[in-house]
């Protein structure tokens, strides 16, 4: 077991440089440490100026996503031991603008998330007096996988289409739209389909499937998008055959 391990971290201080640079730190190696622990050690003991996001440190908040040796990962879930002997390259997520060091701007994703209306849409809200919505375990099963998304954006960092065409809605937003489309309580599928069938929606996806590979919660956004394409195509055929029959 080595005593130390090297981390090569991206630094970007806009007030004094115009391009990112890399800085290497030596951290103690502990076999139960994750990369987030190493970053916190750097900030506490070696260089307090390093900036990065983190919160729950247990893989549910989605804050600590970064590229580790080129692959998007949650740094709270990436053990130092898995990267021996090192050095480990830690970089900010791809395809988002870098604000500082390892911190990226996520506004683009937030706007896209809002655009797909990720909430239950009802024609008429059920008043409290009528009781609660009932849902069987099978109905829950239909959308449960897509509800696991923690908005960590590793999938956006893995999607080459998002990198090449920044207006693409992206994997997580579409998976979350599907989560509501498939929810038995929701009545907004047609509305969302209209939004996502437009340019930069689901049809931009070419099924690279890297998003599913990097997702830490097994949401399978690529599968969600392909299923959505099938639904969209079926809807198109139906609207062709029965022009007035579709909502």
């Amino acid at each position: 077991m080595p005593e130390k391990m090297a981390l090569t971290v991206t630094r970007y201080r806009p007030e004094k440089e115009s391009e990112p640079t890399a800085q290497t730190y030596e951290v103690p190696f502990r076999k139960d440490w994750v990369i987030l622990d190493a970053l916190n050690h750097i900030k506490d003991q070696l260089d307090g100026s390093l900036s990065f996001r983190w919160s729950c440190r247990m893989g549910v908040c989605g804050s600590c996503g970064m590229k580790v040796n080129g692959t998007p990962k949650l740094t709270c879930a990436a053990f130092l031991a898995d990267y021996l002997p090192g050095p480990i390259r830690v970089e900010p997520l791809d395809y988002f603008p870098i604000i500082r060091d390892l911190v990226t701007d996520l506004t683009d994703f937030m706007q896209k998330l809002e655009k797909v209306k990720p909430w239950i849409i009802r024609e008429r809200e059920k008043p409290l007096a009528e009781g609660e919505y009932l849902q069987t375990p099978d109905q829950l099963d239909a959308y449960k996988q897509f509800s696991m998304c923690i908005n960590c954006m590793l999938c956006y960092s893995a999607c080459p289409i998002y990198g090449l065409e920044p207006s693409f809605v992206g994997p997580a937003a579409i998976a979350l739209a599907q989560r509501y489309n498939l929810d038995s309580r929701d009545q907004g599928a047609a509305e969302r389909l209209a939004i996502l069938s437009a340019k930069d929606g689901i049809w931009e996806c070419t099924f690279v499937s890297e998003c599913t590979k990097v997702c830490p919660k097994n949401v399978d956004p690529a599968g969600a998008i392909q299923q959505y394409k099938l639904t969209g195509a079926a809807h198109w055929v139906r609207s062709l055959l029965l022009p007035r029959g579709t909502r």
Partner: protein, 115 residues
């Protein structure tokens, strides 16, 4: 105007399925086994006899047309994304689908007019 992308995707999917299921055996036989003499190729009379059957002509139409539209859709996105030719997007679409359409029309004319 109803968007046409779902239709193009359906053509892409159908073409991809046809190509996946049927092209391997056809490429193997026509491209390798017959010319290399591994198996006896069918005689002209037998092939022509098959061709006169309307089912064969429909089969050949599907076998030629759908995979070409599969290519057109896929290649269009490959050029657009892979080579980042965004500024030529309309030209690329016209060239890709246009080629597929032209070849399909040629196949249809040939198959319709088999004597």
């Amino acid at each position: 105007m109803r968007p046409i992308t779902p239709f193009l995707w359906l053509l892409f999917s159908a073409g991809g399925t046809v190509a996946a299921l049927l092209f391997p055996v056809h490429v193997f036989l026509t491209g390798l086994a017959f010319p290399l003499g591994w198996v006896e190729p069918p005689r002209y009379e037998a092939l022509y006899g098959l061709l006169r059957h309307p089912v064969t002509r429909l089969y050949l139409f599907v076998l030629i047309a759908l995979p070409l539209f599969h290519w057109a859709h896929r290649f269009r996105y490959t050029l657009y994304d892979g080579l980042q030719l965004k500024h030529l997007t309309e030209l690329i679409a016209v060239l890709c689908y246009g080629t597929a359409l032209a070849a399909t029309a040629m196949a249809a004319v040939l198959l319709w007019n088999v004597p």
